[in-house]
């Protein structure tokens, strides 16, 4: 059974296995197909048109399915690996062990934002950024640049308290849990973390940074926590709605999975802890 753990509680051996599996997916080319898929969706999901991966109710089930597929790819390399999650309300500084050279490496240097240490630094020659929108092929970050702050636990709890999953117009202007978690409205959770990391994480090609998976694993866990808190609340919309994925509609690019199929994560993995 796959158990997704808090990244801060991983052993040295677990960190090494996770990093090695990432490097192998990069080497064999599969990693970059995930980056390309994400970028395709982020560029085509629009508030006024078809939207599946982002700025829409299916933001959460789409990323859940996307992470399951990625985790299965990792496990094809090493069956012991599970996706860790990054609780950025706790591990909220560039000094966190997440950013140590034995794991993801640290922030980028000032001159060009280039990450200079860790397994994903360009100098190690194992992590070229191939799916990109500018000429630079090295991983970039600017952790907390400009004095930006990660969301606090209180801000997360306020969003978890929202009892409605999503609301019309089912986009970046919506009220409700999904859009507040995604961050287009209110305190801003998910979007703000992308911006705090900076570099590639702030772009449409954000999965170029391996922290993408740990950030989204935590967003996914917050959805599971929200479900525990609001057992009577359900995915919305349930009836066919223009441009968005209703409960029983299939999601691109898989076309064989619906939000309803993704509501329960437990057939696929467990979390090391879930809110009561």
């Amino acid at each position: 059974m796959t158990v997704r753990k808090n990244q801060a509680r991983l052993t040295v051996t677990e960190k090494r296995a996770f990093v090695d599996a990432l490097l192998e997916l990069k080497r064999n080319g599969r990693y970059d197909t995930f980056v390309a898929t994400h970028n395709d969706f982020i560029m085509s999901d629009t508030d006024s048109g078809d939207r599946v991966g982002h700025r829409s109710p299916s933001f959460l089930p789409w990323h859940r399915r996307f992470l399951i597929e990625f985790e299965q790819a990792l496990q094809s390399v090493d069956p012991t690996v599970a996706l860790p999650y990054w609780d950025w309300t706790v591990d909220r500084t560039p000094g966190a062990s997440l950013w140590a050279p034995d794991f993801l490496g640290g922030s980028g240097r000032g001159r060009d934002g280039q990450v200079m240490d860790g397994p994903f630094a360009r100098g190690a020659n194992r992590w070229a950024v191939n799916v990109r929108v500018d000429g630079r092929d090295f991983l970039r970050r600017s952790l907390g640049a400009g004095g930006r702050q990660l969301p606090t636990r209180a801000e997360v709890d306020a969003v978890l308290a929202m009892g409605t999953y999503d609301a019309a117009p089912w986009n970046s202007a919506s009220d409700g849990f999904r859009n507040h978690l995604e961050g287009w409205r209110g305190a801003n959770l998910h979007n703000r973390v992308h911006v705090w990391v900076g570099g590639h994480m702030a772009t449409g090609a954000s999965p170029n940074d391996p922290v993408f998976w740990m950030h989204h694993a935590f967003i996914d866990k917050l959805w599971a926590d929200w479900q525990k808190l609001h057992p009577a609340s359900a995915y919305l919309p349930t009836a066919a709605t223009g441009n968005v994925v209703a409960l029983h509609d299939t999601m691109r690019p898989w076309n064989n999975v619906t939000p309803a199929d993704m509501l329960d994560h437990t057939p696929h993995y467990a979390y090391d802890s879930v809110a009561a």
């Binding site: 080319g29 970059d32 390309a36 898929t37 508030d47 191939n130 799916v131 202007a173 961050g183 772009t203």
Partner: protein, 124 residues
């Protein structure tokens, strides 16, 4: 390494196939007139050594990915931009931090690029 356009990349998305490209192109056509009428004014300036330009686009723009109805260039290369429902803007360089205008979005991209050249989406 081969270089492909964003439109080609979109069409080549895993499992997305041609239907997606056609669907978003149709959406762009449908929304362009309203957006162009109410859209922000054009601009053309040199910012931190880079030429940035923006203008309402026609017939769905250069590519069909976003339905923006407005096109931004940096040193002649298109910067993919998108307008949010509340009127704010983002770009593929800053995709999670809305800004007030396409010009502010272009300037933010220039700062983020740190002199690097914008290229059509490149894949391995």
């Amino acid at each position: 390494m081969s270089t492909i356009t964003r439109r080609h990349a979109l069409g080549a998305a895993a499992g997305a196939a041609a239907g997606l490209t056609l669907a978003v192109a149709a959406t762009a056509r449908a929304t362009t007139p309203a957006r162009a009428a109410a859209g922000p004014p054009p601009f053309d300036e040199v910012y931190q050594g880079r030429r940035i330009q923006g203008a309402p686009s026609h017939a769905g723009g250069h590519h069909g990915g976003h339905g923006g109805g407005y096109t931004v260039h940096i040193d002649g290369e298109e910067l993919h931009v998108m307008q949010n429902a509340d009127g704010t803007w983002i770009s593929v360089i800053n995709h999670y931090e809305p800004l007030a205008t396409p010009r502010a979005t272009a300037r933010a991209a220039v700062r983020e690029l740190q002199g690097a050249v914008l290229v059509p989406l490149a894949t391995a």
